[in-house]
Every structure is written in C-alpha cells, then in structure tokens.
Amino acid sequence: MKKQFLFLLLIAVLLTFSGSSFGAPKYKALIITGQNNHNWKASNSILKQLLDQTGLFTTDINITPAKGGDMNTFTPDFSKYNIVVLDYNGDSWSEKTKTAFLTFVKSGGGVVVYHAADNAFPEWKEYNQIIGLGGWGNRNEKSGPYVYYRGNEIVRDDTSKGAGGTHGARSEYLVKTRNFDHPITKGLPANWMHGNDELYSQLRGPAENMEILATSFSPAKEPNPPAGTTPAAAPRGKSRVGRDEPVLMTLKYGKGRIFHTVLGHADEGGGPAMQCVGFIVTFQRGAEWAASGNVTQPVPVDFPNGAGVSLRPDFKEITLDEDMAKIVSYDIGKSTKYYTDLQSRIRKVSANAPELLKLEKLMVAVLKNKEATAEARKLMLRELSWMGSDYCVPAIKGLTKDAAVKDEVDFALTRLKAKK
C-alpha cells in the first residue's frame, strides 16, 4: 500500500515536471526583448511561460541593452536554438548579430514574430522579408504592397500610396480563420472572438512566400465631415466598408519557417489580449510549427469561437478537476462554461470506453453529492442519458424520489432504456 502511494507520488512528480510531452522538451527557444514601445517587461515572462507549458520547449530570455545602449554587446548565439521569438522593437542590432540572425533563419531556424516586433527595423530589407508585413517607422509604398482580404479574395497587389500601419481603438474582435488545412489552424473554428486588443491594419511589406492563416475585419475610417455640418447617418451596411486584415501569417525565408502574429498587446500582467485563449493557443501552435513544421498540440476545450471571448487569467488551461468542482455549484445564471467544457471532454473520448467511464464516474459523483445544486444534477442527467453506461443507472434510480429532478430522471432512464 505504501509502495503504491510512493509510486503514484513519483508519477505525479514526473507529470508535473515533464509537461505534456512526457520527457525532456524537444526544442530550445530564445525570446529576444529589452526594447519595445510596448510593455516588454510584462510580456516576455508570459511568453516564456506559454512556451514552457507546452512541454515542448525550454526557453531562454535574452534582454538587449536599453535604448541607446551599446548594441555591440548583444550577440546571442542563435545556433543553440530551434526558434527565436521576437518581442523587440528598438535600436538596430550590430551587423554581426544581424548576419548571425539571417544565417540562423536561412539554415532552417524558426522565428515567431510577436505583435510590435513587426514595427521594428523598417530599413532592414531582410528583416522585412522575414516578417512579411510591417507597420509604422515611416513604412509606405516603398516598403511593399498592402496585403489583405476583400471578402473571400486575397489582395496582394495594392501598391497604392500611403503609410503602413495603424490601429483603431482597442476592442474585442472577431478573427476569421482563412486556412483550415495549415497545421497551426487545423481544427480551429472559422470564427472566434479575440480578447480586447489593438487590431493592426494597413500593414505593408514585401509579403513574399507569405500565407495568411487568419484575418480580422477593420472598418475603414470615415472621412471627417466638413466643419459645421452634422454627419449623415451611415446607410445600412455602410459600416462594413473596410478590409479583412491579416492577423496570423506564416512565411518561408531560406529554409526557415516564420510564424507572425499581430495579436497579444501586453498590459501589466498580460491583460485580455494575452490572456485570450485564441492568442495563447495560436502562439503555442505557431511556435511548434516554426520549430518543426508540425503541430502536435490538440485544440483545447476552452478555445474561443464566434459566440464569445475565452480568457485564461492565469495563462493555464482549465483542468477537468476545476470544471467538475465548478459544476457541483452550478448555477446557469452564472456561467455555463464548466459544463460545456465537460461536454467537449466527453466528445473527445466518447468512443473510448475506459476514458469515458472515468468521466461518467465523476458525473455520478455529482449526482450523489449532497452539496450539488439541482441544476448541476439536471445537467449530469441530460448528458448521462446518452453517454452513460450501466454504471450510472443505480445512481439515477436513486434520484427517483427527488422532485427537483423528476423530469430529468425520467428523461435519462427512458433514453438509457433502463427499467424504472
């Protein structure tokens, strides 16, 4: 008995330290930060946490000299890493470091371009080939075309004059998946809400060997009405004038794979743009793809969709135990997400009898739990009605005299074809 306990403890310890990959992480990542017009002090440790929690990466952080400092001292050894994550928008790197970075990418190193990193180095040609599209820093028609979607058509040849890079007021916004076959976006919803963030628009750049994985609609700015006049009410549908701007992209540079995300504006502690499960998961999947060309991470149950934003305030995926604990005190007026998470978990294992039975046992425990609300028991009965085995039937029959759940007990027993 004692031995068994120690064994279980060992397993638990192993699980805690090995992440999901059950072994040493496969890849090494380097985050470069230290200068940014954004809160890099908040973002860099979160990005490291996100990479490390996949169990695929061990992550180092290299903080450059402060703005105006001696950039000759910034000489990371890129060759030690599988991917470089750019959270940097500041002073030029030394020629030596630039060359080393390009060699790294050309020879097959992966790059993740994060948010304002696409503002950096407007004059560095090769860097702009790596990021594909950039903004600000006096970028204009000389930087390359605007690239965006108009309806379902990609526009790659808009060479009209104008500045590159702008964004409207921060808001939650809908992201449209444009490529359902790419490893990074395979299995994602077509539409998903992103947490409160800036939406970069009108980026421009060489955009060579670039694929757009996701876009978001950015309404066109209305010209200011002439002074002294009242703007006329916008005709119906007028607000839909604008562009679907790229928000997730992949590129090839030499043998290197680049994942570019414009999402994730950092506030103190990350904020909703970084807490957004859509940002987190596409960042993690994009990093794995940049490192390997594949994605092995499943789409988690809490991925957002068109119905609303999904946040991880502590940047961790919700566990089954947390879902079940919340379900016990279920009140539909408060939140349904723990129950819908459970439904997603059931869906993933419904053809796997032993795994399904594990969930069924937890659900039956809710039925038997004196603390559980009637609402919680009703929901368990609805689910058990189709996915339950013989295991749940006695517990359901035990509720026959419970007036609060009478209809749901009938419902479940009828569907399970169990004798009442």
């Binding site: 299995g187 077509a190 809490d302 119905a307 009703k378 419902f411 009828t414």
Partner: protein, 436 residues
C-alpha cells in the same frame, strides 16, 4: 359547436348525391362560375393555422394572396397576441370577424371541421402535432424541419402516409425557378456524373449570455409552449429565438437543412434515401443559454459513392447554397443566384426528352392545387424527412465525436447503441407521440 361545412364534406356529399356516377372536374376555371372571378365557397379550401408567430403569419399571408382559394376560419396559438394577429389577417381577408381562436391544439382539432391546416411551430412540437393533425385526416402545410429527432420524423412520415393526407413542407425553394433549373441541369448530366456536393448554411449567432429568470408574459402559456420539452424557467426566450437552444432546435443547421440540403438532394437524386456514413465536428458556444452548434463541418457518404459535405458557409469556398461537383464542372445555387464553373451551362435549357423535375412556381398554390387534385405536392413528407435526417445525423456525429454508420432503408444507426439513444429526445410526461 357546429361550423361551416368544409369543402371536403361538400365533395363527399355531392359524390353521394350523384352516386359516384359523375366525376366532377376538380379545377373549374373561376371565370366559368359567373361570380366575377370568385370561386364559390364550395371550392375554397377551408383552413386553420396552428402556430401564428412570424413564420405562421407569413404562410397565412401567402395563402391569402391566392385570393379566394383559401379561407382561414380558425387559429391556434399558445400566445394570445399571436392569436389576435392571426385573427386580424383572417378576418380582413374574409371580410368578417368570425375567425375562431384556440390556445390548445387538442381542442382546435377536436372542434374544427377543416380541409387543411397550416402548422408553424418550434421543432420540438412537430412530432406530436403533425401526427395529431394527420390522424384527423387534415391535409397539412407544415414548416421545415419536419422533426426535431429522427424518431419523431419516422413517426410523422408513417402517420402521414397511413392517413393518406396531402402534405406540403415549407421548403419553398423547390418552387423557385433558379433552384429547379439548377437541379435539372445537374440531374441531366450538364456537369457530368456527380462526385460530391457541398452544402453551405448560415453561421451561428453570437450568444446572449444567460438572461435572468423572468415573469412569463400574461399572453404566453409557457407550460404549453414547452410541451414535451424539459421544463425550464422562462428567461425571455420563446418565439423565434427558440432556434438557438438544443431542446427545441438544432440551430441554423437544422433550420436550413430543409432548404439547401433539400435542394442538394433534389438535384443529386438523393431525396428518397440517406447517407451510410456520417462524421464531423461542431463548434459550440462555451458560455450562455444558447447551446446549438454555431459552426459545423460534417461529411456524409452515400452508397452510390457521392460525398456530401455540410458546413457553415464560412468554412467553404462557395459559401451559402448547394454546390454539386461533377466530372465536368460545378454548379452552385443559392437564393436569387446561381453560378457555375462555366457560366454558359446556366443558360442551357432542358430539352423535351430530358428529365424534368416537378414544376411549381408558387409553393402555397401547389399545396392548394394538390388538396384539390389529391396528387403529391412538390415537397412531400418523405423528401422532407430525408433532408432533415442528414442534419440530424450530422448533429449526432458532432455530439458524440464519432463516425456514425447509418442504414438508410431501415433508418437505424448500425452497431452503436450509444449514438442510437440520440435518435430520440424523450418527452416530458404526460406527452406522448400519437399513434394511429
């Protein structure tokens, strides 16, 4: 209570009078009647309506537009505001104030003597009320989708057939020329042998969170609105918005199956059969009262090798509508528009010796014509069942996350007792499905 005798009884009496020796022509040109173009009351179809919310009233208006061919004499709805609105439409058309009102369909069916009834209800009520109306030998214009579950659908089909009534499904796209023409082009091989089909249906709605429990409005009989569905407190979600909650609907997927899946089936000649294998994934809201899939992507394989993919429109190239892919090209048809790999195909006419599909240019007129002629309508019950069963099987595949094997003849899921439970939603007591 005695009511106006219906046309059906009139015909029966006439037939009895003439001892069946003379068969009256069913359609007499109204100008021949010497009544200023009006049909005599004996030739009008006497109708009632059950469910006169937005779709029910819309159907009433379309029937009333047929001038004096139809007369609405009674209305049933669980909402007294709806009742009054329906009565206003009927009384105005009839130029009287005689339309009778009911809150309970059982009383309505018991007391009214009608030829036909127009039914537009939330899906969870279809099994019971369609069957009950058919058992009363009423001809039915019934809204799609015809059932919330496969088992409800099987019961409705068999009840309609056994009672030998005229049935028209509200799949009105069949009575639109661009849909018929596209289906005829496909059926006559203009894009070669069909390999696959894509059906694009609307994306789901955004959620509304979970509204608070509210007092039921005095005009609404909430208990009767729920009927066979599990009892839940009223949160302001009833009319129209029921389609975002799984207890009453499968969402846009089942709402639109009776349109674009129906058309896809029509052109491909699949409207009397079903798929043999169904698999796919749905996307469900995490938060809030609405719980229907807001995205869906499932593949149906048919015994003849055709594959039909059903998706929310954001996931597929042609977006909304039915798209047939043949060996020589493709045709997409949607409301108000058609497109093709070669636009010239769309200009082609169907020759005299080619296959011509059932032609109707007015869905409601077609029903009335068939009530008179006793011929099959353009959207009969089994065809409607085959359209919605594709969506309901997709729903089961998405709910379980499993590949479903289906026997389209026996209409059973093969070798999967767990998934088979989802073929029905048990009714809340005391409701049961009427049997003949």
């Amino acid at each position: 209570m005695s009511h106006k005798s219906s046309r059906r009884e009139f015909v029966k009496r006439s037939a009895a009078t003439v001892l069946g020796a003379i068969v009256l022509p069913h359609i007499i040109p109204s100008t021949a009647m010497g009544m200023g173009g009006k049909l005599p009351p004996s030739d009008r179809v006497v109708m009632g309506a059950i469910g006169v919310g937005s779709q029910g009233k819309s159907n009433m208006r379309d029937f009333i537009k047929l001038k004096d061919q139809v007369q609405f004499v009674a209305i049933c709805d669980v909402d007294t505001v709806h009742q009054a609105e329906g009565k206003a439409l009927a009384d105005k058309a009839n130029n009287n104030s005689d339309c009778r009102l009911y809150g309970d369909y059982r009383e309505f069916l018991e007391k009214e003597k009608l030829d036909a009834v127009c039914i537009a209800l939330p899906d969870h009520w279809h099994g019971i009320i369609y069957s009950a109306a058919a058992n009363k030998k009423l001809d039915v214009y019934g809204e799609k989708p015809i059932c919330r579950t496969i088992n409800d659908g099987k019961a409705i089909v068999s009840t309609v057939k056994k009672n030998n009534i005229i049935w028209q499904t509200g799949s009105w796209q069949r009575s639109q020329v661009n849909f018929r023409h596209a289906a005829e082009l496909v059926m006559n091989g203009r894009i070669g042998k069909i390999k696959s089909i894509e059906v694009g249906l609307p994306d789901g709605n955004r959620g509304i969170g979970t509204p608070p429990i509210m007092e039921v409005p005095k005009e609404l009989n909430w208990e009767m609105w729920l009927g066979p569905a599990l009892k839940v407190p009223y949160r302001g979600i009833a009319h129209y918005e029921w389609r975002w909650t799984l207890d009453y609907s499968g969402g846009q997927l089942t709402d639109w199956a009776g349109h674009h899946i129906d058309i896809a089936n029509w052109g491909a000649g699949l409207d009397k059969t079903g798929p043999i294998e169904i698999s796919g994934e749905g996307v469900y809201p995490r938060e809030g009262l609405y719980n229907v899939p807001i995205e869906y992507d499932f593949l149906c394989k048919y015994a003849n090798g055709i594959e039909m993919r059903v998706d929310n429109k954001s996931r597929i190239v042609h977006g909304s509508g039915a798209t047939w892919y043949g060996e020589k090209g493709w045709i997409n048809v949607d409301r108000g528009k058609s497109s093709a790999s070669d636009p010239k195909i769309l200009q082609e006419e169907i020759g005299e010796n080619e296959i011509h599909l059932y032609k109707s240019d007015n869905h409601w007129q077609n029903f009335v014509d068939c009530v008179r002629s006793r011929k099959e309508t353009i959207a009969p019950i089994e065809v409607a069942y085959r359209a919605i069963s594709v969506a309901l099987l997709g729903e089961i595949a998405m709910t379980t996350g499993q590949k479903i094997q289906w026997d389209p003849q026996k209409q059973e899921i093969i070798g999967n007792p767990m998934a088979s439970r989802l073929l029905s939603r048990p009714y809340r007591q005391p409701w049961t499905l009427p049997t003949i």
